[in-house]
Amino acid sequence: METAETSQTNALEGKTALVTGGSRGIGRAISLALARAGVFVYINYRSNDAAADDTYRAITQAGFSAALLPFDVADRDQVHTGFKKIIDEKGTIDILINNAGTTRDGMFARVTEEDWRAVVDTNLTGTINCSRSALRSMIRARWGRIITISSIVAEGGNAGQVIYGAAKAGVIGLTKSLAREIGSRNITVNAVSPGFIDTDMTASLPAEYREELIGQIPLGRAGSPEDVAAVVRFLASNDAAYITGQTIRVNGGLYM
């Protein structure tokens, strides 16, 4: 079994990854970071072709390898078809990044069923669908990395994000039990929990709220998608061979 000691810096060379929601924000940064480490990256997205094309070009024009793989992570049939394509083309799926996420913020008392279903379907069910589809290949290969993007809201809570927080806490629970279940097959399962990160998702916040929030961050700034991507790349590497079932917080100290 490979340990951190026996790993090489280029140890991700030749691996295949799927990054769900990989075209924008944190997902885009993860797609780029893995591709630069020599990974063939399938960039999954649901609807924004322009953003996906842009991420694809950023990777391939820099001389790295990627492909676009649009599907809805909440739809089991689409997920199945997407993974089948990866296995047909590459033989294995080595690294799964469950990053696709969505928010429908609002006071819990006013949340509609449509909203909460959309949030749970993408953030939690999507993670379940993709993790399940990735497992067969990883178990067979006796090597795998499943990394799920959670949120500071899962552990710290946030008014207006009750469903989002529940779904993001759900993926931490999934991470821990799955890590126990498949650890013996040399597959690690971890979550990364970002704090306040500059992305499209956070750009819509009012300026005063943003400043107030940054005032509470010990490192004094919002995080960048690259701050999160660097940790994901580390967890995907053999340097992180002995880390499993963990939630790694990348939040500038906002929640400890």
Binding site: R136, I139, R140, S184, R185
Partner: protein
């Protein structure tokens, strides 16, 4: 048919569970006799599904305990 199925099933078991072929007698139980854990069973089932191009439901899975159970099951599905 049955002999062919038996041969393929045993070869999969030997490979997946890393046991000797002599241990693979029809009445051998996967967990009690062949030392399989629950994840081994899942892997074995996945391998069987691939080998015989079929799907084994979780309901049926609970009825499978021994090597003979597997052979009977595959025979029934393929008939």
């Amino acid at each position: 048919m049955t002999d062919d199925v038996r041969r393929r099933v045993i070869s999969l078991i030997v490979e997946q569970l890393n046991v000797k072929e002599e241990a693979c007698v029809p009445e051998a139980a996967f967990i009690d006799d062949l030392g399989a854990d629950s994840l081994d069973i899942v892997e074995l089932v996945m391998a069987m599904e691939d080998e015989f191009d079929m799907e084994i439901s979780d309901d049926d899975l609970t009825k499978i305990r021994t090597i003979q159970d597997v052979i009977d099951y595959i025979d029934k599905v393929h008939r």
